[in-house]
Symmetry: none
Subunit: 94 residues, 4 copies
DNA sequence: ACTGAAGGCTGCCCGC
DNA sequence: GCGGGCAGCCTTCAGT
């Protein structure tokens, strides 16, 4: 008869297969970093750079815009001169 | 002229390529879990199971033994009769 | 005039005050673990132990039972003889 | 006699005590958010704001400065007009 | 009630 | 070998 627990086994197998491939990729990445380091680059900084690029720039700016309002209400000095101007304009409008 | 920073770009590209593939695999894994859940399995338990399988059997038992020992020292009831016996033996040996 | 944004500031202040205290406690906890480590205890095991104690006893057994069941379905050797017996009983009941 | 396992118990007690206090604070924080929401504020945004304030502004800028260099090498358009100018200057200097 | 997201926590890798 | 920094996982929270 068809065993019902075969389904569980199938799921586990698929997951482990995929995780194995993931591990292989991690190893590859590590190797690239190692190679970069050998060429004189600072791996830590490269990691940071990759992280930044990964972050969708658009969404980041959107969030900042949304927050400036609240910052202004708290009397915080916005990060940029531009931001300060915007804050000022908003206060005058209020 | 040959630009030296092309090397950096090449490294970054390679890494990002690999990370992209990794992300794809993560998505696949997530999907399998979702499918398993739809079939009635408890994903949390499956995750635990996968983790256990990944861990070397010897180390696993070693960890559990230590946990049982600590529980015994606190007067907690150990998980298993076997564990309790082991703990008792250890205490007498001490 | 009474500024409406003062209310926001008050909320933020209260939250940040509380979070500060929380951070202090986290630091204290970390310190205790560190001290325990210095006395020869295995911090990882202690963490596990604390987690178990935190969890309701009933739920804990329920989770372990499910894990054992899944392991049995995969043909893995269950952690404990007791667990194996329980699994067997469950399978026959099904 | 003094039991050696009393030490373990003492550590566990201290940790659990501290965690209890931490949980109480978390509950307090949650309550403040709830109150703020009742006053018409958007809790999600407040959370973001708190997170931003938490981040040490100085360190953040320091990191960004350190990274602009690498960004420039990749030909990425820096976030700000100021950044672009800086990049341009650097390229001309090269 | 489930899904997606955010923050906190754990394990891993690197440098000291 | 240890401690710090970073990525991944898990849990909790808002939204649907």
């Amino acid at each position: 008869m068809g065993k019902p627990n075969d389904k569980l086994k199938a799921f586990v197998d698929r997951i482990e297969r995929l995780e194995g491939e993931k591990d292989a990729l991690s190893a590859d990445i590590k190797e690239v970093y190692s190679e970069a380091k050998g060429t004189g680059f600072d791996t830590k900084t490269i990691r940071k750079l990759i992280g930044l690029r990964r972050m969708d720039a658009g969404k980041r700016q959107e969030q900042e815009a949304m927050l400036d309002l609240y910052m202004a209400e708290l009397g915080m000095i916005a990060d940029t001169p531009l931001g300060q101007a915007a804050v000022k304009a908003k206060q005058e409008a209020a």
